[in-house]
Symmetry: C2
């Protein structure tokens, strides 16, 4: 065992918890292109977005100037029920690998939703309540986001309708039950509660639904219900902003011990957790204050950064949202059915896309069997059963640490452990039974997705 | 919101973590009666127990003199991966209840096993490794204990066979998968791997198994396999000893703020978590240093303290273990099928039984629908989805706080939140669907159980 000057876990006191989110856009010399209204082709205004999102979230979405955006006491108060989260020194993983690298991870899974999603759910529910709204809607696939928003809605006293992809609500009945326990209404989608749902049901009787359809239903329900708004769990700038508590806490904790990471690694689905983890470090980097390597990790089966196009595209597969300029596989792209866990989004946060495009971020894609190898060896020595999503970052952190073992470099590696795998055990079963396979889309597969990217006249 | 001088969560630093377990027996004027060998009727010696348990655990089991028993660095090292656990001030619950009482809880659910069970699993696996053993066996019903021991066995590099009640392994396939992911072998019981299992299978083909049968198989496997021992997750003195980290951490945390609880509440199944929570406070009480009220809470459907007999009985329903003097419903007692979650043990820790018999502990029984009411209102304001077991303590803590609201007493209430409800969602579903019923055994039901208590000549 190495010496223990740095504790196994670094916790912050309540006084040390962030009072501001970190708006990395304040330091970006080139901002990402604005959202476009798909009907007019013109940039979305606040008024365009108001029927869908809370006012405060829209202001945050459009803010490119203020580095610090205050976290209201009403949100910090709820944050105290599940934050601060620890930065853990992975002593046992280091020992198992025999590496000279130092590995740290920020663990966001110690709450009932099981992931970092609660950071933004808390903020968005708070702002809805403050605006005098009565209810929220959202969609959920695997259910982590739906759970997080149900917890936040219960805390702030808001009604919530969660449109859950029908096949998920049937395959993950217990996830559905957590959401119901927090008082939210779970509606298997497609449903007969919206015109969009009824249309799909008429065209495809007996369909198991899709995330695209669930989004359409949730948005329709929000825009047709008084005092109701829609809430999204990733991709958008304000969601990434709320997730910067991850990076801010990490930085405060590591700064106490004089540690600046050489590499920061996060898994990338919509990009909000990775963006939140790196934000304050990236802000420093953009100001020439560090030279950290930032690595976003995505599944080989859904490789939006590494193999996607940088283009305007819809945020949903039902083509109902504004257009965002981002790395995308095409809003019609569907990851293979053998793909486990989340990270199955066709696009990527516009902020992450811009930073990647400008060379500040490196992206890697990994195959899922290697991801699960990493997950299981991590679980056995560090105790925590990771979410498959998080295990993408573990995979690359282990690979980096093994490189250090070869070269003798004593790199300091920080990665984001976004959640636990308690609700992904069907995937672990596949792995344990030796039945997990990998899938890498062919260029032809990708071409089909690219064909669904809309033509936009600049 | 009340003022926040006491933080929402009190964490200890690694230096403040306990270096010793607390052996409450050192302060008990009357010790519990010794285990008896059922064949001879004489007290069990170390030699009687050695084929089944690790040597070090037996020494701890029989130690009635040393208040402090050192936690070896090899265990403290593993403890650091999931400890210290926080003492939480339940500000939001207090606010919701409008009580003038202060409510605190010690949360043991922030690890992959989801409960306090890992505290003893870690210790027992470490001692097995230290003794040069190669493998362990145990039984598991709902699976929390099996998961905890699988995690500890993976950490220390031991093989593990978990005999899982067949019907549970079928109804909780995901629990089984967590255990497998940590590398343990899950054997649905009854199985053909032991003589005990084969006998049951022959007599009752197609049976779903029972905990009693699983214990018999696990003990047989341990005693017939070289370098193998059996491990138990509750009831025994050494298990309770390992659980005293809960009470020691709680006391260190609360002492920092000058807080001594007026009431300490814990749920009681086998009694090890409750015993571990109260141990250091009880030690002080036995020395006349405090006047704390200790309340053990059990299900109305399995009321060993409140309606059981104080008698020598077998620890398992298969009648293979030594006899323990304890409060018992009879080793043949089976709680009603509608009973959710754990706390379904027929007996009670001999230490807890003795302290209860001598008037140091109060016991209450509660009905499960009221337990789930408490669980859900706790989840909505404090965020954590509690295990049904833990919610027994929540129920009584809420009732105590509501009494304070009536009387104006500003009692300080501490309760043990032993785990999360992630793997108990079938029970939550029943509750959410309004299909949960209560069951209180009649005196006639109890008489049937009492009839299975063996006759012992004193």
């Amino acid at each position: 065992m190495k010496s223990r000057q740095i504790p196994y876990k670094i916790y912050l006191s309540e006084e040390e918890m962030p009072r501001y989110w970190y708006n990395v856009k304040a330091h970006m010399k080139i901002q990402h292109e604005p959202f476009l209204n798909p009907e007019t082709g013109k940039p979305c205004t606040k008024a365009d977005l108001q029927p869908v999102f809370c006012d405060e979230c829209i202001d945050q979405e459009l803010n490119t100037t203020d580095e610090r955006i205050e976290i209201p006491e009403g949100i910090r108060s709820f944050y105290r029920t599940f934050r601060p989260s620890p930065v853990v020194r992975a002593y046992f993983l280091e020992e198992q690998l025999g590496t000279c690298a130092e590995i740290y991870y920020k663990f966001e899974g110690s709450n009932t939703s099981g992931s970092h999603k609660l950071n933004s759910a808390a903020a968005q529910a708070y702002y809805a309540k403050k605006q005098g709204l009565k209810s929220l809607t959202t969609e959920t696939g695997a259910g982590q986001w739906g759970t997080a928003l149900a917890m936040a809605s219960a805390f702030y006293g808001l009604n919530l309708d969660v449109y859950m992809v029908k096949v998920s609500s049937e395959q993950k009945p217990y996830r559905k039950e957590v959401i119901r326990t927090y008082g939210a209404n779970v509606i298997p989608s497609p449903s007969d509660t919206t015109a969009a749902g009824r249309k799909i049901l008429e065209e495809f009787p007996g369909t198991g639904g899709s995330l695209g359809c669930a989004i359409s239903e949730a948005v329709e329900k929000a825009t047709t219900t008084p005092s109701c708004r829609y809430v999204l769990g990733s991709v958008l700038d304000h969601v990434l902003l709320h997730q910067t508590v991850i990076g801010l806490e990490s930085k405060t904790a590591l700064d106490k011990y004089g540690i600046t990471p050489d590499v920061i690694i996060g898994c990338c689905g919509g990009g909000s957790n990775f963006g939140g983890l790196i934000a304050p470090y990236m802000g420093d980097r953009l100001q020439g204050k560090n030279d950290i390597e930032f690595i976003g990790v995505e599944p080989a089966s859904c490789p939006s950064l590494t193999r996607g196009k940088y283009a305007y595209d819809f945020c949903d597969s039902a083509k109902t949202t504004p257009l965002a300029k981002m790395y995308t596989l095409g809003c019609g792209f569907m990851p293979s059915a053998n793909h486990a866990g989340g990270l199955r989004y066709h696009g990527m946060s516009p902020i992450i896309s811009r930073l990647y495009h400008d060379g500040y971020i490196k992206a890697l894609s990994v195959e899922q069997s290697k991801v699960f190898d990493a997950a299981v060896s991590f679980a056995k020595c560090e105790g925590i059963l990771p979410a498959p999503e998080s295990a993408h970052a573990i995979r690359v952190a282990i690979d980096e640490a093994l490189k250090c073992k070869q070269t003798g470099e004593k790199k300091k590696i920080l990665f984001g452990l976004t959640g636990t795998g308690y609700f992904d055990l069907a995937a672990y079963k596949k792995y344990n039974d030796g039945e997990m396979s990998d899938y890498i889309p062919t260029d032809k597969d990708l071409a089909k997705g690219f064909a669904t990217i809309p033509e936009i006249k600049a």
